[in-house]
Amino acid sequence: MTNVALPAADTATAAQKPLPARLAAAFVSRLVIIVPYVWLLFFFLIPFLIVFKISLSTTAIAMPPYAPVLGFGDGISGFIDGLKQLSFDNYVWLTQDALYFNAYITSVIVAGISTFLTLLIGYPIAYGMARAPASLRPTLLMMVILPFWTSFLIRVYAWIGILKPEGLLNQLLLGIGVIQEPLIITNTYTAIFIGIVYSYLPFMVLPLYSSLEKMDHSLIEAAQDLGCQPIAAFWKITFPLSIPGVVAGCLLVFIPAVGEFVIPDLLGSSRTLMIGKTLWTEFFTNRDWPVSSAVAIILLLVLIVPIVFFQNAQARAQEAGR
């Protein structure tokens, strides 16, 4: 779209400006488009290609611990020889042991449940914030961001202190007589869910808040004037309008939660098999950079496919809306 519009703008100004200025203007407007692509090239595509290349090599007892290194040290012929040694064996390996498949599935399920729970808790918070008096909103926003000022690791450790059998929660519940035996929460899936929901809640609340805050409240009033019940008005008006925020929030929570390593390690049981841990083991314990790179590439695909799907669906919904 932008490319089509540009020449038109150029011709419009052509009469007034001398050629060098026109070229400069064209360059600047092109540059604005190029910058994000250059960013993606250096910080996404090139690292991706390096990891992909390592995933096609084999392990070696050397520095770095894989072969071929694929440098230009031996000239072009050495590089071509290196290319010939690459193979997809590591990807075949991933299919031969159910371990990896199970780890991906567990991670996606854990991340999915956590994302849903985060949405369930985050939506009322964001809604409350967006409906709060304008003077109070900056304070509420601050309170959502505030936990980031403490180290993430320390906050997860704090949850061990709260949830463990002799922890604060159990002491409280035992003290008021709700339970007779301490609840075993640490080292279970429940603890992982609590940890993820707590840690990623701001990532859900902030995009939801920004889409709910922008909403025109007179739409609700109109709906109510037309006889719509508050709950029906919420589902017919508020929720559909906040869908961009819901999608953004869910992706911001789901994507890092799939690869989460720290929370399952500290709060979860050692029996939880998640892909973050599997990747760690391949990379650090087995020293198998090629297989761990293959695991990472597959993880990226597992994440990118739903995102592309979501974006397509959203684009189509917008087209239909016009």
Partner: protein, 365 residues
Amino acid sequence: MARTALRLSATTAFMTLAVLGAQAEDRVVNVFNWSDYIDSSILQDFTKETGIKVVYDVYDSNEILETKLLAGGSGYDVVVPTGSFLQRQIQAGVFEKLDKSKLPNIKNMWDQVTKRTDLFDPGSEYSINYMWGTVGIGYNKEKIKAALGTDTIDSWKAVFDPEQAAKLKDCGINFLDSPTDMIPVMLAYLGLNPDSHEPDDIAKAEEAFMKVRPFVRKFHSSEFINGLANGDICVAVGWSGDVFQARDRAEEAKNGVELAYAIPKEGTQMWFDQMAIPADAPHKEEALEFLNYMMKPEVIAKSSNYVFYANGNKASQEFLDPEVKDDPAVYPDEATMSTLFVNTALDPKTQRLFTRTWTKVVTGQ
């Protein structure tokens, strides 16, 4: 060609400047060691004596260190990997051969230790022992007595025999999450060769682990320190020094938790943390001076007195506190020493088998 030449001369000029700059400034040595592993006054004394500034960095796992070393250009001058890791890193060409003429204090080293470290670094060509210790059982005396009827543990049976482990289930068992530490001691308990790389033996160890797995609360390599000290768990298979650390924390907290450490009678694994110099170290001369300083008997004794680990320096023993030297858990007697074994590095295939076996033990998959 011309461009290459130009670039080369520019690089040379830059390097000369860098070298000149370094000489004009203070001399520096970058040390990368395990966390909580030195009396920091030693570093200050070293700077006072030699004028070399110490930049001291810490890590908490061999894997992190190894990854930095294998990636190259870590910038560290002295690193302290554990024996079996060191062996493989030597093969990968990570380390510089030590210039023994610059290490006169090497005469202080203890033959009981060097004959064992020879297994992974023959003739100490690349490394000098810093500290060594064992893998054993840390336990809470009072809780053990309640569960087993005795307040001493002297055998792997307590944690590896399903009947015994079942009794300890409720008070909490922790295993190290480390196949290279756990599988060898299980092999020793089963009466097999503890350094075995045979798939059949490893399968037997797996089978034995699967039987006690339901009674293990967690597989983790550091949480047990706090767990033991707080009384959250009652038994842990762990590294000697970590158990002593837990014992000290419990004493400081005065929470009534009394901990002990056992070297099981079936024998256990000995580990050695070795000081070595990476081949790409920027300050090799300073690194050698640091190594030589660390082999001074009073210096290394001061470190042992602080961290409660045995060192590989014979001459240092007269400077050790009696509570360190006379603790059989730190310096085992001759008879116990003869039951200890050393594990060598695993080839990639065996390493994978170890890891895969362990994943199965830990996750059940």
